[in-house]
């Protein structure tokens, strides 16, 4: 792609920023895990922080923020199936309740 050296240097500054953000969020995850906010809340907070970190990695390191449509479509499809997978255990629990 036609990116100049200046463009790449700008990218590098963003990467360093994302790196610092990831380190801070790792610290936050560990710190928060020692605060007892109730079991469910602790899990929710940890997953939300992990999701933010994952989004940063995907958006900036994996260049998803400026990717072509076909890749978005592929990932949307994967995401739909992924959500389906996550709900399988819920379906199992519902089955148990019915019994």
């Amino acid at each position: 792609m036609g990116e100049s050296v200046e463009d790449i240097k700008k990218h590098v500054r963003v990467y360093i920023g994302v790196f610092v953000a990831l380190l801070v969020l790792t610290g936050v995850t560990i710190g928060v895990s020692y605060i007892d906010m109730g079991h469910g809340v602790n899990i929710a907070v940890a997953i939300v922080i992990a999701a933010i970190k994952a989004s940063l990695v995907a958006a900036y390191f994996m260049h998803l923020i400026s990717e072509k449509k076909l890749i978005y479509y592929t990932l949307i499809l994967a995401a739909i199936f992924f959500v389906g997978l996550m709900f399988l255990p819920v379906g199992h629990s519902l089955d148990e309740i019915r019994i």
Binding site: I30, N42, L70, P89
Partner: protein, 196 residues
């Protein structure tokens, strides 16, 4: 036979073939790890007792490994950026750094596994340990796979730079995208296994 569209974008996809290929592969990886995460939820929700990760595992050791893996994501993207700016020597240095960071991660993981085995904590000990070893083992294999790729691109693979620099740069980008995914999986594994 030459693989087509390694540098220029294919008109119908708007992408070079390697880029589309790696994302299709990663979509299948999402399903592989997704199935195991789903199994983790099922096992945990239905377990009578489930230990807190830090009661069995070492949080400081895993936190260190998290920092190592995040750093390696930065070094691999720096390898790509250096190549983009025309410097093979810098690019190779960052590739080597990425490899070394991967090696550090694996050594720490080996230390953790060894410690568990010495205290009699095998996968057969509990459901928690079974899923812990399955998830981290599969993740470790991915780290190992990435290291082999980086070792190749640092060594014999880097010859391509002299004949096809753009093609080589794309290879590093695509390998990097895979490596970031491995980092991304760990970002979820760390809190799920060690902290919750």
């Amino acid at each position: 036979m030459q693989i087509p569209f390694t540098v220029e974008a294919r008109p119908d996809t708007g992408l070079n073939n390697a880029k589309l290929g790696i994302w299709l592969f990663l979509a299948s990886e999402v399903m592989l790890f997704g199935a195991l995460f789903s199994s983790y939820i099922l096992l945990r929700v239905n377990a009578d007792v489930w230990p807190k990760g830090h009661e069995i595992l070492s949080v400081p050791v895993a936190a260190f490994n998290t920092v190592v893996l995040i750093s390696s994501s930065v070094t691999v993207i720096m390898a790509w950026a250096s190549l983009k700016m025309g410097s093979l020597s810098k690019g190779r240095m960052y590739l080597l750094l990425t490899f070394v960071l991967g090696l550090v991660f694996m050594c720490v993981k080996a230390y953790e596994y060894n410690h568990k085995f010495h205290t009699g904590l095998f996968p057969s000990e509990s459901t928690f340990l079974a899923i812990y070893f399955t998830l981290t083992g599969l993740h470790g294999l991915h780290v190992l796979g990435g290291m082999i790729v980086f070792a190749y691109f640092w060594g014999p693979g880097s010859k391509m730079w002299h004949s096809e620099p753009e093609h080589f740069t794309n290879r590093i980008e695509v390998a990097g995208v895979y490596w970031h995914f491995v980092d991304l999986v760990w970002i979820f594994l760390f809190p799920v296994l060690y902290l919750l």
